[in-house]
């Protein structure tokens, strides 16, 4: 590229370059669809039509999936935080906590899907259980490392001030591990929706995963892409919400500690 063209390109504002790049990708999409280079691919316009035209159905399904994701997330998060806090109290069990986290980190959650299917059938239970399990794995690992990273000087300071034992531990460790745990919760929440969808592939009668799976059987790529778009949007929104909420909670935790 000649340096003059390059410099001219540099001077255009950032957002217009980003829009140009997006337009280029949409053009590529249109081209791939028009030439049928990618089998079954609908044109961007046909895709938008499907997305907007069926949006009530998608939103309803998204709602069902989201409910399962959130409930599973709540259960998994609670378990995932409580167990490490309990195990982190005694120095002996802290090694057990580390070993548990080491093991949990590598558990492939999908392997649990058939067990949940057998236990809960095709209602809401399977998807919720899968989300809960996956969430608890992530949160256990993050909580374990957050507890391990709490500067022992805080605990010593607490016991020096008379707050030894359980009270000191809870009052000091819980806020101190909060920033790390929040990061883990954000990851887990973003992952909750995909896990719910995975659970719905075989284990539900409605929801985004159910639509996605059925669309595959009926080779309806249009619907599949719409579901993917809706799922991505929800994950992005959840992440934004978590960031905003998380920032406030961490700020509170820091002022509570008087930092």
């Amino acid at each position: 590229m000649s340096s003059n063209a390059f410099n001219a390109l540099r001077r255009t504002p950032r957002w217009s370059r980003a829009t140009a790049a997006t337009v280029l990708w949409l053009l590529l999409w249109w081209l791939l669809a028009a030439t049928a280079a990618v089998p079954y691919l609908p044109s961007p316009l046909a895709q938008a039509e499907n997305l907007i035209g069926n949006s009530p159905a998608y939103l309803l399904a998204a709602g069902a999936t989201l409910v399962r994701a959130v409930i599973g997330f709540a259960i998994g998060a609670a378990l995932g935080i409580l167990l490490p806090i309990v195990l982190g109290y005694w120095s002996a069990t802290r090694y057990v906590l580390d070993a548990l986290a080491d093991l949990t980190r590598t558990i492939p959650g999908i392997a649990l899907l058939p067990i949940f299917l057998l236990w809960f059938g095709t209602g809401d239970g399977t998807a919720v259980a899968l989300v809960a399990a996956a969430t608890s794995f992530i949160v256990i690992v993050v909580s374990a490392s957050s507890i391990r990273n709490v500067d022992p000087i805080y605990l010593r300071a607490a016991s020096a001030l008379g707050g030894a034992g359980l009270q000191g531990y809870l009052l000091v460790v819980t806020p101190a591990m909060l920033p790390g745990v929040l990061g883990g919760l954000r990851v887990a929440l973003a992952a909750a929706l995909p896990w719910a969808i995975a659970g719905e592939y075989l284990g539900a009668q409605n929801g985004l995963g159910y639509i996605l799976w059925n669309s595959l059987q009926s080779v309806n790529l249009r619907q599949m892409i719409s579901v993917a778009i809706v799922a991505s949007l929800i994950v992005a929104l959840l992440d934004l919400a978590m960031r905003a909420g998380g920032a406030r909670v961490t700020a509170w935790a820091q002022t509570a500690e008087g930092r």
Binding site: A21, L100, T106, I107, I115, M224, S232
Partner: protein
């Protein structure tokens, strides 16, 4: 308790964890707190192992092979895209929209698309695992490249390194310690991807073992298969950790 060397404490901790799980299992089974069609007795699971012993090695190898291939391809592709984006402003702006999409794109959602476009082929699970791995690695590597100390590429440039040399000899080694954690996470994702594919399509492997257990309503086979899956994932993780330690031995101390 205090004077014991670290590795003994860690080994003991592992024994406690496994022991606690087994103990809980046996207690729940013996007290009848959980019915045996929910939680099979340990003995049933062991006999299930005996039944499946014949087909097990092939299944495990098939799954492990797909995971390994998909993971390696995905990691290489991920690092390559991140490097491209890092070294060329044009590439980074062009790649920005899809990378932004990747951040929120749920990995499991890719499964039906893979099945649609690749069918029941040899490459399908590998492509799936590679895609899931690349998602994680691209973003992790991108961030790692941004925080590499700039003295390194600058010194390389002042010594005459071109773009390719700099990418391969400087940027890539520099980010390996930073992306090691992400690589381990990506590996579990790859295992999940391959298992999911095998479950949904009934392709021979550990995932197929799992779904067959469900289809035949054999809870004991299912539990056995889950244990196999966890052990396989653990083994692959340990191998990766070994390789990563060798690749980063220069950064300790």
């Amino acid at each position: 308790m205090r004077g014991m060397p670290e590795w003994i404490k860690q080994a003991l901790a592992w024994i406690v964890v496994v022991g606690a799980i087994v103990a809980t299992w046996i207690i729940l089974d013996l007290t009848g707190a959980v019915s045996s069609d929910r939680l099979p007795p340990l003995t049933d699971v062991i006999s299930a192992a005996g039944r499946e012993a014949e087909d097990l090695p092939i299944a495990v190898l098939a799954t492990a092979g797909r995971v390994a291939a998909g993971f390696v391809i995905g990691a290489v592709v991920g690092v390559f895209i991140a490097l491209l984006s890092h070294l060329s402003t044009v590439a980074s702006e062009l790649l920005a929209p899809p990378i932004h999409l990747l951040r929120s794109f749920p990995p499991f959602v890719v499964a039906p698309f893979i099945i649609l476009w690749f069918g029941l082929s040899v490459q399908a699970p590998i492509v799936f695992a590679a895609t899931v791995t690349a998602f994680v690695v691209v973003i992790d590597s991108g961030e790692a490249l941004r925080v590499v100390r700039r003295e390194y590429p600058q010194a390389a440039q002042a010594l005459g390194a071109g773009h390719v040399s700099r990418a391969m000899l400087i940027d890539t080694p520099a980010i390996i310690p930073a992306i090691a954690g992400g690589l381990r996470v990506a590996l579990v994702g790859a295992v999940n991807a391959v298992l999911l594919y095998e479950m949904l399509t009934g392709t021979e492997g550990v995932g197929d073992l799992l779904i067959r257990g469900y289809q035949l309503f054999r809870i004991d086979t299912l539990f056995f298969a889950v244990i196999v899956a966890i052990l396989l994932s653990l083994l692959l993780d340990r191998i990766l950790v070994l390789l990563l330690n060798r690749a980063t031995h220069w950064s300790r101390g």
